[in-house]
C-alpha cells in the first residue's frame, strides 16, 4: 500500500496506521468511544495481507495479557480501550513495564469516574502519567491533538517502545477518536520476519533457536537486593527517556503576556481561543505538551519567563496543572479551567476563563 490521503475518524486511523506500521498483533475488547479500532481492523482483515493477528478478547484483562504475551516474544503488539477498560488493564500494564517489554496501548478517554459517560474527557491524565498500576514505573505517554497525530503516534509509540523496551501509551480523548479529518496514511512497511525479530530482540521468549540459552520474561524477584537493582535500572531508563524524548509544541509564546497549557484536542480549542483573545488585545501563547510523560517541565519553565499568568485547560478537575505548577515553581499564578463529565468547552468559554482567572 502506497501513501494515501483519506478522510477518517481518529479511531479508524489508528487501525490503518497499525497495519501500515507492520504491527504484528492487536488484542482488544469493545468499549465506546473507541470500538471502531477493533471494528476497522476486523473489516480490513490484515491477517490476509500483512499477516497481522487481530483478536477480540473476552475482557480488557485478557487483552492486555495477550499483549504481554505477544510483547514477551518480541512482536509489535498493541491494544486499545477507553477509561473504564484501561483501569482493568492496569495490572497487565504494570507487568509489561516491570518486565521491560515494548507494547503500545491506546486510551480514548471518556468521562469518569466509574462507568461515567461516553463523551470526551482527559480525566485519566494522572492514571497515565503517574503510574496507573502498582509499583514505580512510567509509560511513555503521547497525547495526539489531530487525527494525523493519531496515525503518526502509532509509529512513534512503537518506535519508542522498542528503543527503550518500555510500554508506550497514546492518551487520546473522545474528540480526536470520533472526529474525522484529512489524514496522510504512510506507505505500508513490511512486518519484521521472525529472524529479524530474533536479531532485534535477543531477550524474547519465542523458542530457544540454535541452542541459545533460555529466555525468561518475568517481573518476579523475591530477593529484595536484586529487586532494588531492577528498580534502579528502570529508573535509569526513565531518566534517559526524560533526557531524549520530551516533546512539546509552542504557539506564539514569544511576545505573549499569558500562557495557556493544554494537551490533546483541547489545545486546538485553546488555539482558537487564543485568536479570539488576540482580537480583544490579550496576547496569549500556547504550550502543548506532546509527551505527557516525560513532561516538558523545562520548556514550560522557560516559556513562563516574563509571563503574567498561566491557564491550564484540561477536560478534568485539574490534573496536569500539578505538573505545570511544579514547572514554574509558583513564580507566577497558575489557574485551571476545565469541564467535567464529558462536556467540551467552546473557545469562547476558554476566553472567558482566561479573563476571569488570569487577566482579571
Amino acid at each position: 500500500m502506497k501513501e494515501e490521503v483519506r478522510l477518517m475518524k481518529g479511531n479508524e486511523a489508528i487501525a490503518h496506521a497499525a497495519i501500515r506500521y507492520g504491527c504484528d498483533g492487536y488484542f482488544g475488547y469493545p468499549i465506546t468511544p473507541q470500538s471502531e479500532v477493533l471494528e476497522t481492523l476486523e473489516e480490513l482483515m490484515p491477517w490476509e495481507t500483512t499477516g497481522m493477528v487481530v483478536l477480540q478478547a473476552e475482557s480488557e484483562v485478557a487483552a492486555i495479557n495477550m499483549v504481554y504475551g505477544g510483547a514477551s516474544t518480541g512482536k509489535a503488539v498493541m491494544t486499545s480501550s477507553s477509561s473504564p477498560g484501561v483501569s482493568l488493564k492496569q495490572e497487565g500494564i504494570s507487568y509489561i513495564a516491570a518486565a521491560s517489554l515494548p507494547a503500545l496501548i491506546l486510551n480514548v478517554m471518556r468521562g469518569g469516574p466509574g462507568l461515567g459517560t461516553i463523551q470526551p474527557s482527559q480525566a485519566d491524565y494522572f492514571q497515565a502519567t503517574k503510574g496507573g498500576g502498582h509499583g514505580d514505573y512510567h509509560l511513555i505517554v503521547l497525547a495526539p491533538s489531530t487525527v494525523q497525530e493519531m496515525v503518526d503516534f502509532v509509529g512513534l509509540g512503537f518506535d519508542l517502545a522498542f528503543k527503550y523496551c518500555n510500554p508506550a501509551m497514546i492518551l487520546a480523548d473522545g474528540i480526536v477518536g470520533q472526529m474525522m479529518e484529512k489524514v496522510v496514511l504512510p506507505e505500508q512497511r513490511p512486518r519484521r520476519t521472525d529472524e529479524e525479530i530474533r536479531k532485534q530482540c535477543p531477550w524474547a521468549a519465542n523458542g530457544r533457536k540454535d541452542g541459545r540459552k533460555r529466555n525468561v520474561i518475568t517481573s518476579l524477584e523475591l530477593e529484595s537486593s536484586r529487586m532494588e537493582v531492577i528498580n534502579h535500572k528502570l529508573q535509569e531508563r526513565y531518566r534517559e527517556i526524560e533526557r531524549n524524548e520530551t516533546r512539546w509544541e509552542e504557539i506564539d509564546v514569544e511576545g505573549a503576556d499569558y500562557l495557556i497549557v493544554a494537551f490533546g484536542s483541547i489545545a486546538r480549542i485553546c488555539a482558537k481561543a487564543k485568536e479570539m483573545a488576540a482580537e480583544k488585545g490579550i496576547k496569549v501563547g500556547i504550550v502543548r505538551p506532546i509527551t505527557l510523560w516525560p513532561f516538558p517541565t523545562e520548556a514550560i519553565h522557560r516559556a513562563a519567563q516574563g509571563k503574567k499568568g498561566i491557564l491550564c485547560v484540561e477536560l478534568n478537575a485539574g490534573q496536569m496543572i500539578e505538573d505545570v505548577r511544579l514547572a514554574v515553581h509558583d513564580a507566577i499564578p497558575v489557574e485551571h479551567f476545565g469541564r467535567l463529565g464529558g462536556i467540551i468547552p467552546s473557545p469562547e468559554e476558554v476566553v472567558v476563563a482566561l479573563e476571569e482567572k488570569i487577566v482579571k
Binding site: 493477528v53 478478547a57 473476552e58 485478557a62 495479557n65 516474544t73 523458542g207 533460555r214 518475568t218
Partner: protein, 253 residues
C-alpha cells in the same frame, strides 16, 4: 558385577532429563510438582521441541517453573496464563505453547481466561495441577477444595452453605467445542506417572497438529498444606480426591 559395572552407560536405566536444570527446586519434599516438571522436560526433549516450546508459568507454587525446565518461559500474572499463551501461539504458530497452572490460577482468578482460551480452541496445552489447596500462600481454600476439607481459610472444614461446591473446572472445559483432549491423571504411583507422561505427549502432539486445546489435569498432593506426610498425602488423595475428581479421559477427539 561391581559398582564400576553398574555405572557404565549401557547399564543405565534412569537419568535426569536433559532439560531439567541442575538446581534445587523450591518445592516441598513429597510435592507432585517435581514429578510433573520431570515429565514435561522428558516429553519436550523426546519430541524434539526444545527450540520451539514456550512455557507460561502461573502465580502459585509453580511460579518458578521457569527456573527448572530449560525452555523459553513467560511468567504470567495470576490467572492470565491462557491469555498470554493465546497471543504467543497465534503470533508464533510454529511454536508449541503450554501453560502450567494451579487450581487457583485455573479455576478461581483465571476462570474466564481458561474457559475462553479453551473455547476459542487455541492450539495450546494447559497443564492443570489440582491439589485442592493454595500451597504458595500458606494453605488456603481453593475452588477445588473438597467439602469438609480443612484449610487455613476453612479451619473447620469447607461448608457448602458458606463456601459453595468444589469446582470441576476440567469437566467444564471438556464440554467446550474448542477442546480436543481433556484428561485427568495423577502422579502418585509409577503406573500413574507413565500414564500422565503419555497424556502430556498426546497433548503436545495435538498442539503440533493444531487440533485445538488440550487440558491435562493432574490431581496432586500438597502434603505441607494438607499437613500430612508425603506417603499419607498420597493415600488421602486416592481415598478422597479421586471420588470427586475421577481419573481418566473426559474427552479424546
Amino acid at each position: 558385577m561391581d559398582i564400576k559395572d553398574i555405572i557404565r552407560p549401557e547399564n543405565k536405566v534412569y537419568c535426569k532429563p536433559e532439560l531439567l536444570d541442575e538446581v534445587h527446586m523450591h518445592y516441598c519434599p513429597g510435592c507432585s510438582h517435581g514429578v510433573i516438571h520431570k515429565l514435561l522436560a522428558e516429553v519436550i526433549a523426546e519430541m524434539g521441541l526444545t527450540d520451539r516450546t514456550v512455557g507460561v508459568s502461573p502465580v502459585g507454587c509453580a511460579v518458578f517453573a521457569y527456573n527448572y525446565i530449560d525452555v523459553d518461559w513467560v511468567e504470567a500474572a495470576h490467572g492470565r496464563a491462557p491469555a498470554v499463551a493465546t497471543a504467543i501461539s497465534r503470533l508464533w504458530p510454529e511454536d508449541v505453547v503450554f501453560t502450567y497452572q494451579g487450581d487457583g490460577d485455573m479455576s478461581a482468578i483465571g476462570t474466564a481466561e481458561s474457559i475462553h482460551a479453551a473455547n476459542r480452541g487455541e492450539n495450546i496445552v494447559m497443564v492443570f495441577v489440582n491439589n485442592a489447596i493454595y500451597g504458595m500462600t500458606g494453605g488456603q481454600m481453593a475452588p477445588t477444595t473438597l467439602v469438609g476439607q480443612k484449610t487455613a481459610t476453612t479451619p473447620y472444614g469447607r461448608r457448602v452453605d458458606l463456601n459453595g461446591h468444589p469446582l470441576e473446572i476440567t469437566n467444564l472445559l471438556a464440554i467446550l467445542d474448542g477442546t480436543c483432549y481433556v484428561t485427568r491423571q495423577s502422579v502418585h504411583t509409577p503406573a500413574a506417572v507413565r500414564k500422565t507422561k503419555a497424556a502430556l505427549k498426546k497433548a503436545f502432539e495435538n498442539a503440533l497438529a493444531k487440533k485445538g486445546t488440550s487440558v491435562v489435569e493432574v490431581v496432586a498432593t500438597c502434603n505441607s498444606g494438607w499437613k500430612m506426610s508425603p506417603e499419607k498425602a498420597n493415600d488421602w488423595m486416592a481415598e478422597h480426591m479421586f471420588e470427586k475428581y475421577p481419573l481418566g479421559d473426559l474427552k479424546n477427539n
